[in-house]
Amino acid sequence: MNKLSILTKGIIKENPVLVLLLGCCPTLATTTGAINGLGMGVSTLAVLVCSNIVISLLKNIIPDKVRIPCYIVVIAGFVTIVQLLLKAYLPALDAALGLFIPLIVVNCIILGRAEMFASKNSVLDSALDGLGMGIGFTLALGIMGLIREFLGSGTAFDIPIYANTGVEPAGIFMLAPGGFFVFAILIAAINYFSKGKAIKKKEIGCEGCAMADSCGGACDGKEADA
């Protein structure tokens, strides 16, 4: 695999959110606006690139037995650094994302990439992989956020589009049901335009989950696939 394809595969072909369906929680929770979505995406990207680099560097030192706890510690460290920096320099974004910043720790994309890519590949490749996956994640969240913000509050990037024209925005798109709905429509659209080829998985299951080894088919999705 050449360097360019490592970088680009995360953006389109293996987009973590829209194709691999990983990290659903932040995708749904933080996309009430395009800026929030992009902010969450970039924070995750920073953690993903840093943790991929460090884990790739340490891959020969970390004993197999304790690899998951080690990965979690490294990831949690970077998450806290991002959290502190956001609090200090972008307090508005930190307030908007709130709980979901510390929850980057348990985002399956990050642990998943550590386990499946960074622990087996060179530092440069791991960094590129993290960058690509991060960009893909950011793009997906930005698009979701833009759609929900446009429909739900009549603005785009906080700039009013039709908010003051007398057309009432459908506020429900900013709420939980709207999040599920927009995500469903996005995936259906990808299915439609790729004629069902892009998303091979028909269910959200263990595939791509870092815990897949230890859970050993507890997931119903995996049983169905097999």
């Binding site: 806290t80 510390p102 348990v106 599920f180 709905f181 469903a184 269910e203 859970c215």
Partner: protein, 197 residues
């Protein structure tokens, strides 16, 4: 007493972790295909949430706050949860094999369940005391269990559904059902304050 009841009802109904706050979506979508596995996952999550809160709250108050190292919160909490899950798994395997066989398989998945880390952090940010935190954790777990069970019921019906457009089959239609279920839960807003206000 009313405070505790209203906290519990709020996290079960109005602020349901899955349907209103988007925490724990992965297991919600992944393990809700069959009713019995949905119940197993829900019970296991409730148990771990309670245990995790019981341990992390004192750590935050008496260790992190005392030594002014609150910034280690995320790191410490996730490590505590990961080790607790491991401990529970080993204990169950050794002393209660039947229970292990029904719940044990879900335990490794729980470490990365954001609802567990979410409830422990939120108890601290919301300033609940120890008892309130414990009940909030139980409530959050019950809310998760409730959402899982309801959703599993919906999905068993969906399985026999004919005429879903091809591009909506599988995940999209599942998400749309989740959207409708979450809309139904929105009707609870105001109920809790109506009862206790």
């Amino acid at each position: 007493m009313t405070a505790i009841l209203s906290i519990m009802l709020a996290v079960i109904l109005t602020n349901n972790y899955v349907l209103a706050q988007f925490l724990g979506i992965c297991p919600f979508l992944g393990v809700s295909k069959k009713l019995d596995s949905a119940v197993g996952m829900g019970v296991a999550v409730t148990f771990v949430m309670l245990l995790a809160t019981a341990v992390t709250w004192p750590i935050q108050m008496y260790v992190l706050n005392t030594f002014n190292i609150g910034y280690l919160q995320t790191l410490v909490f996730i490590l505590v949860i990961a080790s607790l899950v491991q401990l529970v798994e080993m204990t169950l395997k050794k002393y209660m094999p039947p229970l292990y066989n029904s719940l044990g398989v879900f335990l490794p998945l729980i470490t990365t369940n954001c609802a567990v880390l979410g409830v422990t952090i939120q108890n601290i940010t919301d300033g609940y005391n120890y008892v309130e935190s414990l009940f909030c954790a139980i409530g959050a777990g019950i809310g998760f269990l409730l959402a899982m069970v309801l959703f599993a019921g919906m999905r068993e019906k969906l399985e026999n559904c004919k005429g879903i457009p091809e591009c909506f089959q599988g995940i999209p239609i599942t998400l749309i059902s989740a959207s409708i279920l979450s809309m139904a839960f929105m009707a609870f807003s105001g109920v809790v304050d109506g009862i206790f206000g």
